[in-house]
Amino acid sequence: MNDFDLESKLKDVPLPERPEDYWENFPAQVRLNLHRAAMRPAPNSFWLPRLAWAGGFALVLILGIWCAQFKPLKIAAVALSKNEKHFRNQFAQFETKLHVFMQDEHGMHHLIAEKE
């Protein structure tokens, strides 16, 4: 089969005929559907995915900041609770001194100073 035969075969297939009143009514039908579409509430599907992504991103950001901010405090709290007995003894021994707790990369430090 050559290209010409193929084209003739394809073009031999007729389009189904529709009644005259179908063509008469079709534009009005489109207009009706346009009217219906206009009456429907504006679709917010455009914003929904963006809103979801923005919300997710904000949440991750907040969690990140929260974790970064509270991690040292948590470490300090753990260190304090671990050495609770030792610190209590120190408090008892140096009751009148000034006690300062410091947390750095080497761990928890208990400083005892004279009160001015």
Partner: protein, 184 residues
């Protein structure tokens, strides 16, 4: 753009639904034939034609008068057809029905009836093509556009259109030769 269309588009852009109705009237046959060739179903063709005109109305504000309105509308129609996933199942049913019908006809009916059946087989073969190849065939063979014009509508390069047409022709020839042989 044709003068009649130009004026109607301008009126539609200024908010006249009546002008748009006239545009629909002017182009409804062209769009229906395109959507039917793309779907092979009267019901789907009607739905897609409706969808095309509704999209066109929504986007008419972005239409520039430097382009041809029919080309612009055609592009919307083709994109609507290519995105029409819902009808895939119905299309599949149509193909299956056609194939079954063909097998039964082969054994029972006269040559004349088989010739009528061949028309359905051609339509069925067309529907078996991937949507983008079918679109290339519809635009170039049924609507007589050259590859450059078809490329403009399909939003791809001329080479891509040529390749799609070539691949589609090869498949169709294979399928339709078998059918032709079976009928004889």
């Amino acid at each position: 753009m044709a003068d009649a269309d130009s004026e109607l588009v301008l009126q539609t852009q200024n908010g006249s639904p009546t002008a748009f109705e006239s545009l629909v009237r002017n182009h409804q046959c062209m769009i229906h034939s395109l959507t039917f060739r793309m779907t092979g179903s009267l019901a789907d063709a009607e739905d897609l034609a409706q969808e095309t005109f509704i999209r066109a109305y929504d986007q008419i504000g972005s239409f520039r008068s430097t382009a041809k309105f029919s080309t612009w509308l055609y592009r919307i129609a083709i994109n609507t057809c290519l995105n029409w996933k819902q009808s895939e199942a119905r299309r599949y049913h149509f193909q299956t029905e056609c194939a079954d019908e063909f097998c039964s006809r082969q054994n029972n009916e006269t040559n004349a009836a088989a010739k009528n059946g061949a028309c359905e087989q051609v339509q069925s073969a067309l529907l078996k093509l991937p949507a983008k190849q079918r679109a290339a065939i519809v635009l170039t063979i049924y609507d007589g556009l050259n590859h450059a014009e078809a490329a403009k509508i399909l939003g791809c390069s001329e080479t891509t259109v040529s390749w799609r047409v070539f691949a589609a022709r090869r498949k169709l020839k294979g399928w339709l030769t078998t059918i032709g042989g079976a009928h004889e």
